[in-house]
């Protein structure tokens, strides 16, 4: 197995709030391999985005408590890096794309301002040179008339164009790792497909690893090489995409896949998973899915299941896998 670009070990993230501390992430182990697209799936609140923000150390310091680690990026622990070092990594070696391209772009600046500035800062070139490179970047994400776009304000562009700008910004300095947090969720279905195609195309050009965060299994099936399933802050299953879709091992993954409506299939009722993701105020040594699990046993409440191999590169954290 090639050495991973990103290795997360024993990472715990919790938030302080008026009502007490809430645990958002508790990952035993998660690797991102070179040049792969790793799909990170889970329901809202399962800790996908928090994981990405933790990697970039973007969580508000006063509210988020990060414990454990390390989080190794190319062998170096990101959690202990000083802020000035992190600033050099952000946007240059690790980039992030966010869900809503409208709110991601500053409404009172032309989109060229941040793009040019980021290129100038990270690539150490003059603003004039950065502008030339920014034009090239916009061409690379297939935006027509880059000159005009560079001077346009976000509200003058369409949703798809805005996300293309964001993708261009993310890839402008050829990062090793791209964290894409629901990059297509806020877009129309047809635009979604275009953006997915663009991401796929560019990753071969740039040779970056991509963590593709989504709650949409259909999207994951289309883009990712491997899939990691998150539930209540834990990675409960991870493996090659085809393997996961064909032979899901965790009952949660299994139920998720069964809940996808398929074309040409007639069902009177879509299956749903009863209950909701628990809010974890006090971490316990249990499987957090047990209350909703059709395959639960007494053991599920006694110890925390550990990720264990069930196939080639396929791991699951379950006492009683499917």
């Amino acid at each position: 197995m090639p050495e991973a670009v990103l290795e997360i070990r024993d990472l715990k993230v919790s938030f302080r709030a008026f009502s007490g501390t809430v645990q958002a992430v508790d990952i035993q182990r998660l690797d991102v391999l070179p040049q792969e697209i790793l799909g990170l799936v889970g329901e809202t609140g399962s800790g996908k985005s928090v994981t990405a923000l933790t990697v970039l150390r973007l969580l508000p310091e006063r509210k988020a408590v990060i414990e454990g680690g390390p989080v190794l990026f190319k062998g170096q622990d990101l959690l202990t890096k000083p802020e000035t070092e992190m600033r050099k990594i952000r946007g240059r070696e690790i980039s992030m794309i966010f869900q809503d391209p409208m709110s991601s772009l500053n409404p009172v600046f032309p989109v060229g301002e941040p793009l040019t500035r980021i290129i100038a800062v990270h690539q150490g070139v003059s603003l004039k040179e950065a502008r030339e490179r920014a034009l090239a970047v916009l061409g690379r994400v297939h935006l027509p008339n880059p000159e005009k776009i560079l001077g346009s304000y976000p509200h003058e562009l369409s949703g798809g164009m805005r996300q293309r700008v964001m993708i261009g910004m993310a890839l402008s300095s050829n990062p090793d790792l791209l964290l894409a947090d629901e990059p297509t969720t806020a877009l129309d279905v047809t635009i979604q497909a275009q953006i997915l195609r663009l991401i796929n195309e560019l990753r071969h050009e740039i040779k970056a690893s991509i963590v593709f965060i989504t709650h949409n299994l259909g999207v994951i099936a289309k883009v990712s090489d491997r899939v990691a399933v998150m539930y209540a802050g834990n990675v409960v299953e991870i493996g090659p995409t085809t393997e996961i879709f064909r032979r899901p091992a965790h009952p949660y993954t299994d139920l998720l896949l069964k809940a996808i409506p398929r074309l040409g299939e007639r069902r009177d009722k879509l299956p749903v998973i009863d209950g909701a993701v628990p809010v974890i105020r006090r971490p316990e040594p249990v499987c957090y899915f047990h209350s909703r699990c059709p395959r639960r046993g007494d053991a599920c409440r006694e110890a925390r299941p550990v990720l264990a191999p069930v196939g080639a590169g396929h791991y699951v954290a379950c006492r009683n896998p499917v």
């Binding site: 970039l56 973007l58 006063r62 992190m86 600033r87 050099k88 990594i89 952000r90 946007g91 240059r92 980039s95 992030m96 966010f98 809503d100 709110s103 991601s104 772009l105 500053n106 409404p107 009172v108 600046f109 941040p114 500035r117 980021i118 800062v121 990270h122 304000y153 509200h155 003058e156 910004m169």
Partner: protein
């Protein structure tokens, strides 16, 4: 955008009309007789009656109003009952000192208030935020007349650093007769390079300007803080962080440009209010400004002067509102599109 500004302008004219109507009405309901005032305490009944005709006070009230409005448009703003000078001429004499004071006070308030509000928001709930909030609330809680006197006591009475009051030493006024360009000693001496007058005028300006700055300073700090707090939670701020931009650049450029709008409004409105609203400061510092003139007019029931000042204040207020609209449109391109 253009139709919006035109609409605002028309609304402004409407407010102006209403205002003249209101003040005219109030001024005419004043129990004391303006005609008797005009001719003085020793006048005969006959003289009073003649003055009444001369001032048009014998006509029905709506005729008086229409006549007044026609005069206004023609630049005849009436004659002050106290100074016996045309109101517009009085205003021209008092306005420069007012503007000098307001502009310097507002510059002080803006230069300190905006950075303080930004720093406060960027360090929410920390010591510096508590301090800045205490400071800004303190600034709006100060009785200006009292601050003015305390400053006089300390800086004139004990330290002898600044003069007590006025806008120029009488001796200097006599020794250096100034050619009036703008009517403000500070600007005129600066333009003509008369440093003796300039330094003297400047030292006279400091205490009143500091007193005047306190209230807007507090407002600006608070407004900047609260809108910065909102903006700092926006996605694009997080995105800027995610792309390695420095905190300083994010706060002072990317966030501030989004947050400055409400502050601009506050600056404009307090400036508008200051034009005649600072009469307490002007009274304590014996500053020959418009507020001083207005307060004297009010206390003497000098209704042509009151109305003159009122109209000027209203025009200034409407103009400031328009200026705000234009500045907002420059700051935020979305307004232009709407």
């Amino acid at each position: 955008m253009r139709t919006y500004i035109i609409r605002r302008l028309l609304l402004g004219v409407l407010v102006l009309l209403g205002l003249t109507l209101l003040t005219f009405f109030i001024a005419r309901v004043v129990p004391s007789d303006p005609a008797a005032r005009w001719v003085g305490p020793r006048a005969t009944l006959d003289q009073i009656a003649r003055a009444r005709v001369q001032l048009g006070l014998d006509k029905p009230i709506y005729v008086q109003y229409l006549r007044y409005m026609a005069d206004l448009v023609h630049g005849n703003w009436g004659t002050s009952i106290v100074t016996h000078q045309p109101v517009l001429r009085d205003i021209k004499i008092y306005l420069p000192a007012s503007l000098e004071l307001i502009i310097s006070g507002m510059i002080l308030a803006v230069v300190i208030g905006i950075p303080l509000g930004v720093v406060s928001a960027a360090h929410k709930d920390r010591a510096i935020d508590h301090l800045s909030r205490a400071f800004s609330i303190g600034a709006v809680s100060l009785p200006t007349f009292w601050v003015a006197m305390i400053l006089q006591l300390v800086f004139f009475g004990y330290l002898r650093l600044f003069p007590l009051s006025g806008e120029l030493d009488p001796a200097i006024k006599l020794a250096y007769p100034m050619h009036q360009i703008t009517g403000s000693y500070l600007f005129d001496s600066l333009i003509t390079g008369n440093w003796v007058v300039f330094t003297n005028a400047f030292s006279h300006l400091i205490l009143p300007a500091v007193t005047l700055a306190a209230y807007p300073l507090g407002l600006i700090t608070r407004m900047t803080r609260s809108s910065m707090l909102e903006v700092l939670n926006e996605d694009y701020v997080r995105v800027a962080r995610a792309y390695g931009m420095t905190e300083r650049r994010i706060t002072y450029l990317y966030a501030l440009k989004n947050a400055i709008g409400p502050t601009v409004t506050v600056i404009a409105l307090t400036t508008a209010y200051s034009l005649a609203g600072t009469f307490l400061i002007e009274a304590v510092f014996n500053w020959p400004g418009l507020g001083h003139y207005a307060a004297d007019a009010v206390l003497a029931a000098d209704y042509p002067a009151i109305m003159g000042v009122t109209i000027l204040v209203a025009i200034f207020y409407i103009a400031m509102n328009l200026a705000v609209d234009i500045v907002q449109a420059i700051l935020d391109p979305r307004i232009k599109a709407a």
